[in-house]
């Protein structure tokens, strides 16, 4: 038992895993007991739940990696829209293949991340400030580039449709993208040496320097991952919905940070895990889903997310308290 507790305590995702499992068990039991009134296990409900979390999840993975490295990116929400619009116009106006357009969109996101990182590195100003400015820049940039009209995203390719919007049973393609991105970054963050450097730079930058790691380079990589993930989540979401709103995306950056914090990422860096970030995202959407099933009015939702953030951090801190 002690070993079990120690094990949970030592994992950054330990607390959130416990909370997530508890909520799932309660919801599943309630769903089995009252299948008519509480349709948690209804396939349609599961399908919607899985479908809705992927865009935020992909973005949160990038944001979380950057947070582990000790920096923030507040611009991912508006960058998400900007890159989606770039992708859509590549297809609509330049008749590029949707795959190529998607790659271009992601490259734009990565370049944006590199620009943010370079400014932070060169002028040693907080990334909070730099990306706060960038947030407004990309929002304005979207309007400048496209205008305020909503943009329909149509593509001819059937395969593209299947790859981005198809489904296997209740599992939507976008959810598989989320899982895929999660797996790729799980290996990078937890098993690749660059992942070790993310934690070192975020946890103790002086130690990283003393040991010969270049924090600027590591942070630059993390910024580019955050930008790339924001772009990918924008394209995935746009493909699923079939349109993109130039004013959309704003606010997503805070939800992504919330997902990371719920998932056990330390605000000051050096701590976090991909599993935690994914569970944090899933938890936000599970809570939302449960509230809808309980017929709570939609605008209460944010109140609960707010409570959840604080609760999750309390659990994370309590479970890690060293005696």
């Amino acid at each position: 038992m002690k070993k079990f507790i120690d094990n949970i305590r030592s994992k950054p995702a330990g607390g959130i895993l416990l909370l997530f499992c508890t909520i799932q068990v309660v919801a599943i039991i309630a769903g089995l007991l009252y299948p008519e009134n509480f349709r948690y296990l209804n396939p349609a409900n599961i399908a919607v739940l899985l479908k809705s979390m992927s865009a935020l999840g992909i973005m949160a993975i990038g944001v979380g990696i950057l947070m582990i490295s000790g920096e923030f990116d507040l611009s991912v929400g508006t960058l998400y829209t900007f890159c989606a619009i770039v992708t859509a116009t590549m297809v609509k106006e330049y008749a590029l293949s949707p795959y190529l357009a998607m790659i271009i969109g992601i490259i734009v996101g990565i370049i944006a991340g590199l620009i943010h990182g370079n400014i932070v590195n060169r002028f040693t100003i907080p990334s909070f400030i730099v990306t706060l400015g960038a947030m407004l820049l990309w929002k304005g940039g979207t309007l400048l580039y496209h205008g305020a009209k909503s943009l329909r995203y149509k593509y001819e390719s059937e395969t593209y449709k299947t790859v981005l919007t198809g489904d296997i049973g209740v599992i939507d393609a976008s959810f598989l993208w989320f899982i895929g991105v999660g797996i790729v970054f799980y290996f990078i963050v937890h098993h690749h040496k660059i992942g070790n450097h993310f934690f070192a730079v975020g946890g103790n930058p002086e130690a990283a320097i003393a040991i010969g790691i270049n924090p600027k380079r590591v942070k630059l990589i993390a910024f580019s991952i955050a930008g790339g993930c924001a772009a990918l989540s924008g394209v995935v979401a746009m493909s699923r919905v079939g349109s993109v709103q130039p004013g959309g995306g704003l606010g997503l950056e805070l939800e992504a940070i919330a997902a990371c914090v719920i998932g056990g990422c330390a605000l000051m860096g050096g701590r976090g895990s991909i599993l935690g970030i994914m569970l944090g995202t899933a938890l936000i959407y599970t809570i939302q889903d449960l509230l809808l099933l309980l017929r709570a009015p939609g605008f209460y939702f944010e109140m609960f997310v707010g409570g959840l953030i604080v609760l999750a951090v309390i659990i994370n801190v309590t479970i890690r308290k060293r005696i």
């Binding site: 690749h192 040496k193 450097h197 934690f199 103790n204 130690a207 790691i213 060293r322």
Partner: protein, 246 residues
């Protein structure tokens, strides 16, 4: 005498604007010896340590490693050319990472694609923790650094330096944040290191600690070396007097 010196710097000076931090300093570190670098605040000890570890470049002067003149101007050079590792009061470790990941931080054992070989790193960490500098109270290298005491942390930092075959350890106030018992332990490690062919330089304000472990004392004042004697040729009173005289 000079053949025996592993590291030597001659006529080293460093100025910061009007302030002369190092004024024609001659300093050497022999093989298998522990040097106590003493002096009041602002004497230039920390600048000398920083110069030796490559963080600060001297304005004038020459550095010799193993008798050969060498230029050391970055942290990497001091590590690779002279085998120098610095251990600070707040050691260069990350609290939220495991002992293994700290030991191999920046020097991860990886495959061709940069993915880490966890098994190998864990085995070697166990070896590091068990051999050479024995660290008591650490049962698993999977423990997070944050869960260790101050003395254990310093011990891990020292063990890491030993494992990576460092020749010289520069310890800048290594015990100032430690309890009495932990201090004893860290000082014991330092003396044990001599048998591993590692020399150390200890900067400390505590002359009793210095007397416990050092073979030679160097006292600095206002950027100059004002006193240098082997332990056998001096006593605590004489060294104390040199440190406090203005």
């Amino acid at each position: 005498m000079s053949q025996l010196n592993y590291y030597e710097c001659k006529n080293v000076s460093k100025r910061y604007g009007n302030l002369t931090a190092l004024d024609n300093v001659d300093f050497h570190i022999g093989k298998n010896e522990v040097v106590g670098l003493l002096g009041d605040n602002g004497a230039g000890k920390s600048t000398l340590i920083k110069m030796m570890s490559g963080v600060v470049a001297p304005d004038t002067g020459n550095v010799f490693v193993d008798g050969k003149e060498t230029k050391i101007s970055t942290r990497k050079q001091s590590e690779e050319v002279a085998g120098i590792e610095t251990i600070y009061q707040n050691s260069a470790l990350c609290d939220d990472m495991t002992i293994i990941r700290n030991i191999f931080m920046g020097r991860e054992i990886t495959n061709l694609f940069g993915f880490m070989d966890h098994k190998k790193m864990e085995d070697l960490s166990l070896e590091v923790l068990e051999s050479g500098v024995h660290i008591s109270g650490i049962d698993s290298p999977l423990k997070e650094i944050g869960a260790l005491s101050g003395g254990q942390k310093q011990a891990v930092a020292i063990a890491r330096a030993v494992y990576f075959k460092r020749k010289i350890l520069l310890l800048d106030e290594p015990t100032s944040a430690l309890s009495v018992r932990e201090t004893e332990r860290v000082l014991k490690y330092v003396t044990e290191l001599k048998s591993e062919n590692v020399s150390s330089v200890i900067v400390t304000h505590n002359l009793y600690h210095a007397f416990q472990v050092c073979d030679r004392f160097v006292v600095m004042s206002h950027g100059k070396v004002i006193f240098e004697k082997n332990k056998s040729d001096t006593n605590l009173d004489e060294v104390t007097e040199q440190v406090i005289k203005v």
